[in-house]
Subunit: 147 residues, 2 copies
């Protein structure tokens, strides 16, 4: 049995994130010691490692919740788990396609910049006039930033 800090160190998941996972029901409420501090065992560690790995692969928490539910039932068909992974793969592929188009547009923009004044800047100009673009873009909602 170990503390939340040890669990965090063992899995690479930050302490507040572990508490957050507990709060949203992704991790079971653990036992506490006499001083009300959380105590974890190896099963909890394995579950958290699973969550962390799935997050690294880009699975949203809802999908992870589903995968965890499935993994609790070793006898059932893995069809559903397979479908979730396929869906995730499709999304990753779609985002790669999308980002490649973005990269091309940004490269074009940056390479055309003659490093003069704002008035003649291609970066500003292209942003202001979509017609100067090589192709259409997707919805803004489909392009997201990282932390």
């Amino acid at each position: 049995m170990f503390s939340i800090g040890k669990l965090a160190a063992a899995t690479g998941v930050k302490v507040p994130t572990i508490r957050y996972y507990e709060q949203i029901g992704l991790l079971a409420t653990p036992d506490r010691n006499s001083g009300n501090q959380r105590l974890y065992d190896d099963a909890a560690r394995a579950r958290l490692a699973f969550i962390r790995h799935a997050r690294e692969l880009g699975f949203p928490l809802d999908a992870i919740r589903e995968l965890l539910g499935l993994s609790d039932d070793p006898a059932r068909s893995c069809e559903q788990a397979d479908a979730i992974a396929q869906r995730q793969l499709a999304q990753v592929e779609a985002r790669i396609t999308r980002l490649n188009a973005l990269r091309a547009e940004l490269e074009r923009m940056v390479h055309q910049c003659a490093h003069g004044t704002i008035a003649e800047c291609r970066v500003i100009e292209v942003l202001g006039n979509h017609a100067l673009c090589a192709h259409e873009h997707a919805e803004p909602s489909l392009v997201q930033e990282e932390a």
Copy 2:
């Protein structure tokens, strides 16, 4: 002069999003008609088109704010605008690299699935055991989902 609805239709930006941009100071507070409804002119339309296009290219609102500030000063050097675009390009490239690694991992996982039971499912197994992975992953925070 046109209404917020016409502006939305003209730029492809949703009405609540326009009001949100006004709220956060990205768009100036427009004039109102006698019934307190917003009235926009072509300058506002051009500014919103700029914002929309930059969003499509993945620029965060803070960078867009900066670019808009720069574009208001046509005489200055475009060095800064160029730097912002380069930064954005670098981020897009980093994300592509990252997503390609994810795709490889997900493909490996999915292709190894024999469509049997959960107990023998490679998807569940690989997620639970990082050691089965072909390579390391980044922090979960570096992989984000789309809407």
